[in-house]
């Protein structure tokens, strides 16, 4: 589905990614975990075209998408939900959803998607005429995910969907990720909450300072002593 090979990226001479390779297969949830500044967000931005890679190749659904402009990558079915719940604050909830809906294909597909995301996030249905910026943090995150789902994505990139949310909402977001995956949409998930991420994923990659240092089935990684120490609170800094 998605294959990344030797991906390098830098910001004005400072290298953020030193040639990483990984893939996401159809039907999989794959997570990318790592400390602050490891390069997770940069990786997602390269895939969605927001940051231009210096070297490497990105193939999506059999097509080379390296260096394509972001809107073309989105139109190919690869939807990026950036970190920090970036909803359009002066657009209503409905308008936010419709910006994703136009990629759904046709009006009836957009309508079907609208029904689907509203059953996934009923709270949005009650707030259709409200401005995006007036939603609570959790609702904004749901809106950001729902907006991407409106486009009938073939692959979803989620950057820290649980960041800054209360524990009960974190649960709620991960449940949703489960449901989306059950629907057959593969997901590349970036998370600081490594415990929850590993629970939700099939496989995972661990990043450190722009490199992938470990990879494997999520269950095995979750059991690994080094991972537990560094990322799961077993003597580490975060859990």
């Amino acid at each position: 589905m998605l294959e990344v090979e030797g991906l390098k990226a830098s910001y004005g001479g400072i290298t953020a990614l030193h040639g990483i390779s990984f893939r996401v297969e159809a039907g999989e949830v794959v997570s990318l975990i790592g400390a602050n500044g490891a390069g997770k967000t940069t990786t997602l931005k390269c895939i969605s075209g927001v940051v231009r890679p210096v070297a490497g190749a990105i193939r999506f659904a059999g097509r080379d998408i390296t260096g394509l402009p972001p809107h073309e990558i989105a139109r190919a079915g690869l939807m990026h939900v950036p970190e920090g719940r970036r909803v359009f604050s002066l657009l209503t909830v409905r308008e936010n959803l419709l910006t994703g809906g136009f990629l759904a294909g046709d009006a009836s597909a957009a309508k079907r998607n609208m029904e689907k995301v509203l059953s996934l996030f009923p709270v949005l249905g009650e707030r259709m005429a409200q401005l995006g910026g007036t939603l609570s943090g959790g609702e904004q995150q749901m809106l950001a995910i729902a907006r991407a789902l409106m486009a009938s994505p073939k692959l979803l990139l989620l950057d820290e969907p649980s960041m800054g949310l209360a524990p009960v909402l974190v649960e709620r977001i991960f449940d949703t990720i489960h449901e989306i995956a059950k629907d057959g949409i593969p997901i590349l998930l970036v998370e600081q909450n490594a415990g929850m991420a590993l629970e939700t994923s099939n496989r995972a990659y661990v990043m450190e300072r722009g490199r992938i240092v470990m990879e494997g089935p999520a269950g095995l990684l979750a059991a690994d002593r080094r991972i537990r120490e560094a990322y799961l609170g077993g003597g580490g800094t975060r859990g």
Binding site: G49, H71, M79, R86, S89, L90, G100, L131, G133, A151
Partner: protein, 318 residues
């Protein structure tokens, strides 16, 4: 948060349509009730400014582009119309109408020329490019004397005609401007509340997210600029045939700023904002006429107070 408080855009479609319909009826009735030629003249000027400010609002309010050279496009349309009616097709009623497609074409072309290099870059390039464009147009008007008569301007521009009917007389010009303003507003309404409007506002709110949602940001901005530019040129074409004499001093930076103020005072990004802003800036100074010298002082103070009380404009942000 004031920024997020109720806006006209939230009103129900039925109420919006009712408001629009009553405005149209009022517009048709005005000349039947108002006999004062000066008031009709003010309304004609207002109509031209409604086209200008609503057009500029597409770039500034919807797409979030800081446009500082709108008078350049306005002037291009005016000169284009004036040159065609006085020299290309002189002495025929067709001269006036031939100017319309020419003004639209030249407006869009100039918009594309300004946008192509400046809209790909983020930051203030666009503001600077449009500011420069406004100055270039003015210096062309001054220096291409063979075509424009330089600082003397173009005189004796024939009034608009349809066959033998003189549309420049009395309330006829009012109806002509009202027709074009309505047409422009109708088009803008559909753009604004349709998919284009959503894309423009998405781009204005968060360019990166708009991109990853599949919006071609460059194309969206380009369309906004080209449509704004075409409307400015149409307003210029009407203006030239209304006043019958134009010169470069009609199309200075001051004029660009005036139209920008209409958009901002009324409420950028809203449908009604530019209309209300135009009414404020065209009619309010007239109401102050009796106080003669104090006029500018009161006018300036009123604007400052308005912006302090409602920084998002009369209608609010949309």
């Amino acid at each position: 948060m004031r920024l997020l408080r109720g806006r006209v855009g939230d009103a129900s479609p039925a109420r919006k349509r009712a408001a629009l319909a009553s405005l149209c009826v009022a517009a048709v009735l005005v000349p039947l009730v108002v006999r004062d030629g000066y008031v009709i003249h003010l309304l004609n000027v207002l109509g031209i400014y409604v086209i200008l400010s609503s057009g500029l609002n597409i770039s500034v309010g919807l797409a979030g582009l800081l446009h500082l050279g709108y008078a350049g496009f306005y002037g291009l349309g005016a000169y284009c119309g004036a040159i065609i009616s006085t020299r290309v097709v002189p002495g025929s009623w067709l001269g006036f109408w031939a100017g319309l497609p020419a003004a639209v074409a030249i407006g869009m072309l100039a918009g594309a020329l300004v946008g192509a290099p400046s809209l790909r870059l983020r930051g203030h390039y666009f503001a600077i490019a449009t500011l420069g464009f406004g100055e270039i147009v003015r210096s062309l008007m001054l220096n291409l004397t063979g075509l424009t008569q330089g600082p003397f301007g173009i005189k004796a521009i024939p009034s608009p005609k349809l066959l033998a009917l003189d549309l420049g007389q009395g309330p006829r010009f009012y109806y002509l401007v009202a027709a074009f303003a309505s047409l422009a507003l109708y088009g803008i309404w559909n753009l604004q509340y349709g998919r284009f409007g959503r894309f423009w506002r998405a781009v204005r709110e968060d360019e990166t997210v708009a991109q990853v949602m599949g919006v071609d940001v460059f194309a969206a901005k380009m369309w906004a600029l080209m449509i704004s530019s075409a409307l400015a040129a149409v307003a210029g074409w009407l203006y030239a045939h209304y006043v019958s004499y134009i010169n470069p001093s009609n199309f200075t930076l001051d004029e660009s700023i005036l139209v920008l103020c209409m958009v901002i005072l009324g409420g950028r990004g809203t449908f009604w904002g530019p209309i209300i802003g135009s009414a404020l800036l065209v009619l309010f100074p007239e109401l102050l006429r009796p106080i003669a010298e104090l006029r500018l002082l009161v006018y300036g103070a009123a604007l400052v107070v308005l912006m302090a009380v409602r920084p998002e404009g009369v209608v609010g942000a949309g």
